[in-house]
Symmetry: C2
DNA sequence: GGTGAGTCTGCAATCGGTTGCAGTCTGTGT
DNA sequence: ACACAGACTGCAACCGATTGCAGACTCACC
């Protein structure tokens, strides 16, 4: 059906080996031969069979991506970034969605690992030990978190929280509530930590209201507790939670930002469309995917990991001020 | 590194052929031998190398999915459905995002087609001819549209529009505006058609305001024209457009649903969170992905297409009434 | 006991490439 | 004229599976 390397060889009047070399090690073959091969390749529209190549080289030209939930715009953007960068390197991407089920992750990665050269893993909930076990048999790059000994790309959450708090304090807020995401989530821990530091440095006060699902519903559920803290501003785990807060606050007749300022994290598309438009810490999502791919491919090209230094990527957020934050209300 | 079929054979004291058969054609091998093989497989954690198998069978156990934009929640849901169903069949999915560039599609599908058994293609803009050309060399299932001669799964847009119009007419609306998406989009054409029919059947009046980008910005841009038509209700191409409308109407001080009722299509997550919560025609998105996969796999198993009858899937939308529609204002 | 059918199992070819090794050819230095 | 290095190229083995074909063995039946 489709042309094989033998067809090309016949047409060019050379052996298959020469064709193979002309394609992968061009400097090893005579320029005129190379031209004949190129012509034959062109004429037949030949493209090497990846399965056959992979069989002998041990590389598949494919990477895997595991995310908790594709329908979450944060992960969708991440996937876009991974995908675009991989295509740029002529690498295909298997996407697997765990449906927010951390237990399924290990199995998925194991199944994937047989078919790919490496995996970009987005696993906010798994423990460091679980991750280490997974990385035992597969080349893995973490994304959106770190774990000792494993390469990864993550956000500088502390810096992001510092920006948010500085903004709020400048607006006169002194007591700031914090709606955390799942307690086991890496981001929850780091954002909480960053927040505590920032608040302390600026002589304000933090009022954590506990852990909630990282969803719109989570935000709705948290809203009343936020109000009860008496805080004049709130930082939410992410934008979905912040938008949930907005909804519940609105229905209780609490004005944003008049009575309460709200800050999210992520800057998903929806945040711009919320009412009031959400002030948030924008995280470069596609960028994270891109860097993760680069990291992974670099590791695959250099399995000994000589380039230890570059095994971590760190990305910075940027505060986007919109309409959900304003001056603290006068007592 | 990992166990091969030879290792298993040696451990079980049989030939590789027998191992292969024990796994793929169990009834061909003696029960006791089969048990020995099974034990060896278990002990070694053997799993057949897909590349090697694909080389000889010509099947890769992989399908491709091409979508315009993963960041669009509609396509993200679709992808989830495809992905879940494929995993259920132990088939991996390559995801490719064309970045809303119809020109890139053909190339992408061609590149993909070398590596997969078939492709689920979501291409709202391409012409029937372009699709036919693509399907020449690859097994393709269309999704979210139809084209003559090609298998696919699509929504019954006319039925959905009928539901929307019936709802609006029941609320007393007589003049209904229609904000179309891209003119070349299959869905725009079919929704427009369905709308005209429904409006005519119910003795109402349709006021089309032209074609806009299928985005929030598109909706913002369309809003003033909608108002200018004097309609008391508007059906938007999709939810993103509807939410854009909501935003612009709000900033102009036009009350929804007091002055104008708004209906979207899709029911993306964001619609529930809009203010007012959006009335919309819910399209079963994951279901579409699932059915497309089933269709594709069936075609692959039966290349002659004996099962002509089942080559099309049709899905129905369901009107979800929320707060953006209400009684028509009294003149 | 011999024959034939039937059931398993193994041999070896094959899929489409890649690569170590050896051979050919050309050109240069002496 | 000869030896030798260097540049290409081809042969053949190999990656890890699947599968047509044939051999081995069992069993029943005549």
């Amino acid at each position: 059906m489709t042309a094989t390397i033998r067809d090309v060889a016949r047409l060019a009047g050379v052996s298959p080996s020469t064709v193979s070399r002309a394609l992968s090690l061009p400097e090893m073959v005579n320029a005129t031969t190379r031209a004949r091969v190129a012509a034959a390749v062109e004429q037949l529209g030949y493209e090497p069979n990846r399965a056959a190549r992979g069989l002998i080289t041990g590389r598949t030209g494919t990477i895997g991506l595991v995310v908790p939930d594709l329908a979450n715009p944060f992960f969708a953007s991440l996937t876009k970034g991974v995908q675009a960068r991989a295509r740029h390197h002529d690498v295909a991407v298997f996407v697997a969605d765990t449906d927010e089920d951390p237990a399924a992750e290990a199995g998925l990665v194991r199944a994937l690992s047989k078919q790919v050269d490496g995996v970009v893993l987005c696993s906010p909930r798994a423990s460091d030990e679980e991750l280490a076990a997974i990385a035992q048999n597969t080349t893995v790059v973490l994304v959106n978190r770190t774990a000792v000994g494993l390469p990864g790309v993550a956000y500088d959450n502390e810096d992001g929280m510092r920006q948010a708090v500085a903004h709020l304090v400048a607006l006169g807020h002194r007591r700031i509530a914090w709606v955390g995401g799942p307690a086991t989530s890496w981001s929850t821990q780091h954002r909480g930590f960053g927040l505590r530091n920032a608040v302390e440095a600026l002589r304000a006060e933090l009022a954590p209201v506990g852990n909630f699902a990282p969803t719109y519903e989570g935000g709705m559920a948290a809203a009343d507790q936020v109000v009860a803290t008496g805080a004049t501003a709130v930082v939410a785990y992410n934008d979905l939670v912040a938008i949930g807060l907005l909804a519940r606050l609105h229905s209780r007749g609490i004005s944003v930002p008049g009575d309460l300022s709200v800050v999210g994290v992520d800057d998903i598309a929806m945040s711009r469309m919320a009412r009031p438009a959400l002030t948030t810490v924008r995280l470069p999502k596609q960028e994270a995917g891109r860097i993760a791919v680069e990291l992974l491919l670099a590791m695959l090209d250099d399995p000994d990991g000589a380039a230890e230094g570059s095994k971590h990527g760190e990305l910075h957020g940027e505060l986007i001020v919109r309409d959900s934050t304003g001056p603290a209300p006068q007592k």
